[in-house]
């Protein structure tokens, strides 16, 4: 059996390792196009602030890891897939045959149609090369404009501040992290960042960027900011599906997969940022561009590729964020859904917030600010669908007792 994996991010690497774990003999080829050992995008912010050097971003640390597992790691760009012939075409060299194919090509950052985004000094923060260029420009004292305060924007925000730049953040929505947390939390983050000297402009659009004498002039739809030495764009991502044009593999936002992470074409699977797969909370199919999902997809897709029938129940959306020391997280249906009960606790002065969403006596979503102890329990409760019984009532007025509720119900279930 010959397995080929396109894309050497977390989804691809975990898939390759899983295939090997369950089958010592099969052939596994992992293809990456970045000219680097498989690395982790998530680690880029930490590279930026010199907490780690480049090797610290690598997904696997032991030397010879892929060789030891007899995973063939190929550096090439895949140009097309031919399902009929069961081959893929590389930019250079002969086509490559496969029996099972995994699409794990990830996503790329979007550059919105705004004039000036292609000027030098305007960068996305997505690859090791991007990090190098941002690092060179984000000098202490420089004025930097960050476009977008979504989840990834907010992660980059912290790295930039730690580099000592003067930072302005421009977010078109009414709050920070609008797709991860509600108004209360988003505004808490904003006032926290503001108190740390970051200029946060929400409900504001960048309309044009042009080269001026002191740097880049960033024009806003309202208000002014000084010229910038660097503009970082974090305006969302899109799945890498262009190379699939004409292949017959069905795509929408990403590659459509079924509940075994298989595409419409037998033997071709998709995982990670490129896959439009089942969301555990809603049952809808969408792209959940986060690390834990990439890993989970990679593992489950590989099981199915290797012949172990493993349905995918759906992935849980979850994020954790550290904005200049303020830790926040969100899980599942954090915004609630029709008929759900919501319990909240807000302490604005101390930057603490917890909101729980229940359907019946099960937790379906949660978000928190300023809490970091045992937060994984929120995932545990949502994902396992644990019935909280009497605890639900207690949590409705005292959501902060969630970890007690968790341990209590866990032990009841276990004994």
């Amino acid at each position: 059996m010959k397995h080929v994996i396109i894309g050497a991010g977390p989804a691809g690497v975990v898939a390759a390792e899983t295939l090997r774990r369950h089958n010592a003999k099969c052939s596994i080829t992992l293809i990456g196009n970045e000219g680097k050992p498989p690395y982790s995008r998530m680690a880029l912010p930490y590279l930026l602030i010199d907490r780690i050097a480049e090797p610290g971003t690598y997904l696997r640390q032991s030397p010879g890891h892929y060789d030891d597992l007899k995973i063939e790691y190929v550096q090439a760009n895949v140009a097309a897939v031919d399902p009929d012939k069961k081959t893929i075409t590389l930019d250079e060299g002969a086509p490559l045959a496969y029996d099972r194919l995994l699409l794990a090509t990830g996503a790329h950052p979007i550059k919105p149609p705004i004039k000036g985004l292609d000027l030098p000094g305007v960068h996305t923060c997505w690859t090791l090369d991007d990090a190098d260029e941002i690092g060179a420009l984000a000098k202490s004292g420089a004025h930097v404009v960050l476009m977008g305060a979504g989840f990834i924007g907010s992660i980059i925000l912290e790295a930039l501040v730690l580099k000592g730049v003067t930072l302005s953040v421009v977010e078109m929505e009414d709050r920070m992290v609008p797709r991860m947390m509600d108004e209360v939390a988003g505004n808490m983050l904003k006032s926290w960042c503001t108190s740390k000297g970051v200029n946060i402009l929400t409900g504001t659009k960048i309309t044009e960027i042009s080269q001026g004498d002191d740097g880049l002039n960033v024009t806003l739809d309202k208000g002014n900011i000084p010229a910038a030495q660097l503009v970082v764009v974090a305006a969302g991502v899109r799945s890498n599906i262009d190379f699939l044009k004409g292949s017959g593999v069905e795509t929408k936002e990403g590659v459509m997969v079924d509940d075994h992470l298989q595409t419409n074409i037998e033997g071709i699977y998709a995982a990670g940022d490129v896959a439009q797969a089942k969301d555990l909370s809603t049952g809808d199919f969408n792209v959940l561009a986060i690390q834990p999902t990439a890993v989970e997809h990679g593992r489950i897709a590989a099981m199915n590729m290797g012949g172990l029938d493993t349905p995918h129940r759906g992935s849980l959306s979850m994020n954790v964020l550290d904005t200049l020391g303020l830790i926040s997280s969100s899980f599942g249906q954090w915004m609630g859904e029709k008929g759900s009960d919501s319990a909240t606790m807000v302490d604005k002065t101390n930057y603490r917030y917890l909101r729980l969403e229940f359907q019946g006596d099960c937790l379906i979503g949660a978000q928190s600010v300023g809490l970091s102890e045992h937060i994984g329990m929120l995932r545990g409760l949502i994902q396992s669908g644990t019935h909280l019984g009497n605890w639900k009532q207690i949590l409705m007025t005292s959501p902060h007792r969630i970890s007690e509720a968790y341990v209590s119900t866990l032990h009841k279930n276990a004994s």
Binding site: E373, H400, R401
Partner: protein, 615 residues
């Protein structure tokens, strides 16, 4: 080390919280907690102040070992001029609060002045602030605990609070932390209430270090081993709690019954540890659910009880159906034998209410017993009691009075005066079984002679925890003395008083001394903190502390005349048991005591004694 070296000074009048360094010179002389806190109080207030006035101060003090892994090292004391006594008050409490205060980075909190409006102090590590408690005023300790944790979304917070009793000036109100641990005696809760301070909430995430970890781990480990291997601390207390004493003391003829009319209670067994552990006839379940330890304690004498849901005290009150803090010996005695009530469930309920509303069960039970005595004698009538028959032995009456005292309503307000004030008010002061205004605990001085001297000379008023000679006279620890003899008791009491002052100042629980002597304690203290701590220097610090406390009381207006016991104990002989026919031999012991203390015949420390101790 062991110290955070930081004191939090909270001026309630001004609404300020200020950090200041701990006076290390004093820490070297007075060790910590009881000793060091008293030293601060001594230096900062006029002993003549009205305890309930803004001029009184209130100090929460930890010991050097508090927050470490030494067994029982979770304690703190509240030091102030006592509302009940007007004497020095120092009430020691376990639970987790004291350790949490240390983890937040504070050795001590000094409260001064009086807040204009109800407030609570919220400490989250080095951040301390006074917050409005207007929404908490009128709430019980338990509700306050839950409400504060909810407000701060912090289930890990530890809270010391007063209930309605403290707010309304019950003279023996206590400060309850962790729901059922209390700085219980002398009315420290009334002082807190008079300052409009509802609670102190603490969350600490810092660590406590010690000076020499190697030596510390070795000595604390040896200490824990000694506790585990000792019959009292290793078996008796974890299994039965302090309640293990009920039958023992009764058989010794020293269980004060019905306001000390008798020295044995015919129903002692019904309210004993054994009864708590047996399945109830009503529902087949035992009253005792399990035992609980305080922070770092390897003994775990705390009781967790559950009342029979069908018991009259909790019918239709599901809030009392869960597990809560159960009966300790002193409480079981005061609520039971002292009042003649033998209904264990009723006692447990009354004890819940003491914790929930924050008042001392010993003083409450004793005061109620005195009131019953007056009722039976016709001094009090139904007109005074709001129609309740205050008869010895009535369980319904006990639970009703517990409720009323908790909220200071009806006759509860009278009971909240404490036995001395109540008996004086009705013209029968001799029926108040108190010394310096504080009610006796559960040992009859006629049956255990050393305890008579203990009560009479205790600096905070009648108390067993100032020199627990029961240990020697009944249990034979460290060596057996004859409970019915006054011989050598002066020296015994002094030795116990000094050693106890040292233990109370270290951050440890006095129960360790069933197994430990200062030989066991000194190496733990010495490895933990600054200073040269040997059994001798600890003993000397204890004696220094004792004399300092005595000086406080003398300056507050007490004299040797106040080292006395009520007439009943001096004149009315024990009717039954081993002590039958005996009265207290205090008159023989007291002069001898003054002498071994190095005090003059009026009970005043001589210049020589004070200079020897460097007071």
């Amino acid at each position: 080390m062991a110290w955070t070296r930081k004191i939090l000074r909270v001026n309630l009048t001004e609404g300020t919280c200020v950090s200041e360094p701990l006076n290390m010179d004093w820490a070297l002389k007075y060790l910590g907690q009881r000793g060091l806190g008293t030293k601060y109080l001594m230096e900062e207030i006029d002993p003549k102040v009205d305890p309930l006035s803004p001029d009184n101060k209130m100090i929460f003090a930890t010991g050097p070992l508090t927050g470490t892994c030494a067994s029982t090292a979770g304690r703190y004391s509240v030091i102030t001029k006592g509302a009940l006594t007007g004497a020095i008050a120092c009430s020691n409490s376990g639970g987790y609060f004291g350790a949490e205060l240390k983890f937040a980075g504070w050795d001590m909190i000094i409260f001064e002045g009086k807040s204009e409006k109800p407030v609570y102090l919220c400490i989250i590590d080095d951040k301390a602030e006074l917050l409005s408690a207007e929404g908490l005023w009128g709430k019980s300790v338990w509700d306050t605990d839950a409400a504060i944790k909810a407000t701060h979304q912090e289930p890990m917070m530890h809270i010391a609070a007063i209930g309605v009793a403290g707010e309304k000036g019950n003279m023996y109100a206590c400060i309850v932390n962790d729901l059922h641990r209390a700085a219980g005696r002398s009315g420290v809760g009334a002082v807190m209430g008079s300052k409009n301070l509802k609670a102190v909430a603490v969350r600490g995430t810092g660590g406590v270090s010690v000076e020499d970890f190697g030596a510390f781990m070795k000595s604390t480990e040896a200490g824990k081993k000694a506790l585990a291997e000792n019959a009292v601390t290793g078996e008796g207390l974890p299994a039965y709690g302090t309640q293990v004493l009920m039958n023992v003391i009764n058989e010794s003829g020293a269980l004060p019954t019905r306001n000390f009319r008798d020295v044995q209670f015919e129903s002692a067994n019904d309210i004993s540890a054994e009864a708590m552990a047996e399945p109830r006839r009503s529902d087949g379940k035992p009253n005792l659910l399990t035992n609980q330890a305080c922070f770092s304690c390897t003994i775990a004498c705390g009781r967790i009880s559950q009342i029979d849901k069908d018991h009259f005290s909790v019918v239709n009150k599901p809030e009392y159906w869960g597990a809560e803090g159960g009966l300790e010996y002193e409480a079981a005695w005061a609520l039971g034998a002292a009042t003649g009530v033998k209904d264990l469930e009723a006692l447990t309920y009354a004890n819940y209410i003491c914790n929930e509303q924050g008042y001392d069960p010993i003083s409450f039970g004793s005061t109620l017993a005195a009131a019953m005595d007056m009722y039976e004698e016709g001094v009090l009538t139904k007109k005074d009691t709001g129609g309740v028959e205050l008869k010895f032995g009535s369980a319904e009456m006990l639970t009703k009075m517990a409720d009323l005292t908790g909220t200071m309503e009806g006759f509860g307000e009278q009971l909240g005066l404490g036995s001395k004030r109540l008996c004086e008010k009705y013209g029968r002061p001799e029926l108040s079984m108190t010394v310096k205004g504080q009610e006796f605990p559960a040992y009859d001085p006629r049956g255990i002679q050393g305890m008579g001297l203990t009560y009479a000379t205790s600096n905070r008023g009648a108390c067993h925890l100032r020199s627990y000679t029961v240990s020697s006279e009944i249990l034979g620890i460290p060596e057996k003395t004859d409970p019915l003899s006054t011989d050598g008791k002066a020296g015994l009491v002094k030795a116990f008083q000094d050693a106890t002052a040292a233990v109370d100042s270290a951050g440890l629980c006095i129960f360790t001394t069933f197994a430990w002597t200062l030989e066991d304690i000194a190496p733990q203290v010495d490895a933990a903190c600054e200073g040269n701590w040997t059994p001798d220097t600890l003993m000397e610090a204890g004696e220094r502390i004792w004399n300092m406390e005595r000086n406080f009381n003398l300056a507050a207006g007490f004299s040797g005349k106040d080292d006395e016991l009520p007439k009943r104990l001096m004149k009315d002989a024990a009717k039954t048991g081993p002590a039958k026919g005996m009265v207290s031999g205090l008159d023989k012991m007291l002069p001898e005591y003054y002498e071994v203390r190095g005090w003059n015949t009026k009970g005043v420390p001589t210049e020589e004694t004070l200079s020897r101790l460097g007071v």
